[in-house]
């Protein structure tokens, strides 16, 4: 696991993107005042390209800074799970082969399996437990919140995250085999 210059910059700019997207939401429509968060897709994409350290930093720092700048408080119980998602997806970065242009078929499925597991660990397990430990909040409330966040995040990460990774893979791979057509 390398943390060289490129990874430092990727972590920094990835975090900037995550923070900038904090207030960008896709309203669900059928349930009022609920929204999907595109930044969850960004996180899995960045992690899948740059690995667990970058993913962990972007999740942790991005969530903490986003909370602090826009909401004036840091909810550590939700910051940590964000990092968990980044790290878990990042561990398998090499397997996804996004940069090498090999992100298709089996890899897309695998990517989504990992992203669902990561999000489940983070939002159904990690976040509610921390909420209970830190804030002594009622268990049924925090688990429902967690499941809700889990569903939203796997949808957006599954759709938008997969499209992002696929498109990036298309763009960065296979440039030598192209031929002009008349």
């Amino acid at each position: 696991m390398k943390f060289g210059i490129k990874e430092v910059v990727a972590a920094g700019i990835g975090t900037a993107l995550f923070v900038a997207l904090t207030q960008v939401q896709i309203p669900l429509g059928f349930i009022p005042n609920t929204a999907l968060q595109p930044r969850a897709a960004l996180l899995v994409f960045i992690s899948a390209v740059f690995g667990p350290i970058v993913g962990g930093i972007v999740g942790f720092l991005g969530h903490a800074l986003g909370d602090a700048f826009f909401y004036g408080s840091v909810w550590w119980s939700w910051v940590v799970p964000e990092a968990v998602v980044g790290i878990l997806v990042g561990i398998f970065a090499n397997k996804f082969a996004i940069k090498e242009g090999g992100f298709s078929g089996k890899n897309i499925v695998f990517f989504n399996v990992i992203q669902v597991i990561g999000n489940a660990l983070a939002w159904i397990l990690c976040a509610p437990i921390l909420d209970i430990v830190i804030y002594a909040e009622p268990a049924n409330k925090v688990f429902l919140q967690g499941i809700w966040a889990f569903i939203g995040n796997i949808i957006i990460a599954g759709v938008l995250g997969s499209i992002l990774a696929y498109a990036y893979s298309e763009i960065s791979g296979k440039s030598s085999s192209l031929e002009k057509e008349d």
Partner: protein, 573 residues
């Protein structure tokens, strides 16, 4: 004297490519020299620069054959950090190069990495900031700086390392003409006072030659095709052959049938010895006649008393009114922050005006949504990477039609037609990533054209393009304008572009409309050019030197002649 940079029989091939990018380079650069490296895009000039600063082979790997040395050392046996102690690089993208949160931190960056202690660091930063005239900026953040200021900070950031060689990668690319002039002057000042070896990579030759250089190295298709003094190179025909634009006054001399000689010192208009050419130039001036002007047709887009501000006491745009007629090609010019982008944002509906109205074909478009306006007014952004949202070229161009629900067949037909117009048809099934910057630009133009807008607004359409691609894009826009009747509005600070291709220039300065006139008139008016951060064209001075009484007319005739005789490259359909 030992050369400071030396290449012999040097060949380089990127690992990801089949053919070498540089072939058989033989080049010696001596300490204290100032050398200009020119060449069209894709010629290998940037790769040559990367070989000097160590990005090749340390960041971009590949195969090297032959020998080279920097400061007497073999770079292959060093690392990029060792090289960065000898070669300081100022990148073209000043936003990317500006890493610090403030000017002072950015300048200090290299020192921080060298573990220089606090006090010494502060002293050195102050010293270097002084050299590039940026001392009053030290505490500013990058957002508060203009392009020219950012570039000065970048220069300071490499000077602080006390390197021997300074490498400027297209320093003029993002600057308006007046700021570009200042930048070249500053580079010259640094060269003289700091006794550095200076390498400038540029394709804007006339602007780069604003101050003397010792030699010009012309790179084309991976080879050095010429290594000569500026006067010698300008006297020959190599530049045109290799797709580099000559200074306008040199082109004018050649049009007039003069044989430009080395001893007439054509490197600068100021030093040009015109006695030999005077009569021929005069005769040519008399012989060219301008055609009758087209009768003006109806107004297509007009704005009336437009005003906008973000904060109540700081107007960005004040009381701007003008009317564009159908089929015109107009330039909106002015320095950064003059209100050009705000104006186009208002026309496209991204911003709501505080005062005034916008009419399209006589109808007030203020109530229209952004999407509705997008069907009649198309906007092409400066950076194509900020527009392209599909991995495949075909899909990208089709996007505007498919979101509007056009039938598949019609989409295909229109996309293919536009791709052919834009010379992209061969690449229709390629991923966008495989294209060059210029080709991507054409993809974005195609993706707007496909919607058949009545007016197209282009933000810096030729930024970062070499002469060949510039000509290609502009001829293409001219074809759209003349052949398809599309009205074109361009936001630019490229003076050649406005001179050669536009009928009108709307000059903005500090949010006000300063002037609305023929480009030839704008660029021959010293005071006006200065206020708009433009530069008076060298044609004016040539006319002056040749005792031609009407420099504006001279400029207009030159442009007309140039258009008729040298841009005959028709667009193939």
């Amino acid at each position: 004297m030992e050369p400071i940079i030396s290449f012999s029989n040097f060949t380089f091939k990127y690992r990801t490519q089949v053919e070498p990018t540089l072939y058989d380079i033989n080049l010696n650069i001596y300490p204290g020299e100032k050398v200009l490296i020119i060449g069209p895009s894709g010629s290998g000039k940037s790769t040559l620069a990367h070989c000097i600063n160590g990005l090749v082979p340390f960041s971009y790997s590949g195969d090297i054959t032959g020998e080279y040395s920097i400061c007497g050392k073999d770079p292959k046996k060093m690392d990029i950090f060792g090289l960065s102690q000898m070669v300081g690089t100022v990148l073209q993208d000043t936003d990317g190069q500006f890493i610090g949160l403030t000017v002072a931190e950015d300048i200090a960056f290299a020192l921080e990495n060298d573990c220089v202690p606090g006090e010494e660091m502060k002293r050195k930063v102050d010293e270097v900031a002084d050299t590039v005239h940026a001392k009053e900026l030290l505490l500013n953040s990058p957002f508060a700086l203009s392009g020219g200021q950012k570039q000065r900070v970048s220069m300071a950031g490499v000077l602080v390392d006390d390197v021997d060689i300074l490498l400027f990668d297209e320093p003029l690319a993002n600057l308006d003409p007046a700021t570009g002039k200042t930048a070249i002057a500053l580079i010259d000042e640094i060269h003289k006072t700091q006794k550095k070896t200076v390498l400038i990579i540029e394709h804007r030759l006339e602007d780069a030659l604003y101050r003397d250089v010792d030699r010009i190295i012309l790179v084309s298709e991976g080879r050095i095709v010429c290594d000569a003094k500026p006067d010698e190179l300008l006297a020959g025909d190599l530049l045109r052959e290799h797709g580099i634009r000559e200074p306008l006054y040199v082109t004018a001399l050649k049009h007039a049938g003069c044989t430009v000689t080395e001893d007439s010192h054509p490197a600068h208009i100021e030093t040009l010895y015109t006695d030999l050419y005077k009569e021929k130039v005069k005769a040519w001036f008399e012989s060219v006649s301008l055609p009758e002007k087209k009768p003006s047709s109806e107004e297509i887009l007009s704005v009336s008393r437009l005003g906008f501000s973000y904060a109540p006491d700081k107007p960005v745009l004040k009381d701007v009114s003008f009317a564009i007629r159908r089929g015109e090609m107009t330039a909106i010019v002015g320095k950064n922050g003059a209100g050009k982008t705000t104006l186009s944002n208002l026309i496209c509906g991204f911003l709501k005006p505080d005062a005034g109205e916008i009419f399209l074909e006589g109808k007030d478009i203020t109530p229209l949504s952004v999407k509705e306006r997008g069907e009649v007014v198309g906007l092409v952004m400066q950076n194509p990477n900020q527009m392209i949202s599909k991995p495949m070229i075909y899909d990208e161009v089709a996007l505007g039609l498919s979101v509007r629900g056009f039938p598949e067949e019609e989409i295909k037909e229109r996309v293919y037609r536009v791709l052919k117009i834009c010379g992209l048809y061969q690449f229709r099934n390629w991923p966008v990533g495989a294209l060059s910057f210029g080709q991507k630009k054409r993809v974005t133009i195609a993706s707007i054209l496909v919607m058949d807008p009545k007016v197209i607004i282009l933000d810096e359409p030729t930024a970062g393009q070499d002469y060949r691609h510039y000509t290609e894009i502009m001829e293409f826009l001219k074809y759209l304008n003349e052949g398809q009747g599309i009205t074109i509005l361009m936001i630019t600070h490229d003076m050649h572009l406005m001179l050669e291709y536009t009928d009108r220039a709307i000059v903005l300065a500090d949010g006000e409309l300063l002037c609305d006139d023929k480009p030839a008139r704008v660029l021959t008016d010293e005071a006006l050019a200065q206020r708009a951060y433009l530069k008076k064209t060298s044609l004016y001075e040539l006319a002056d030197k040749c005792d031609i009484a009407d420099p504006v007319m001279f400029t207009e005739r030159f442009i007309y002649y140039e258009r008729e005789n040298h841009h005959g490259t028709s667009v193939n359909l």
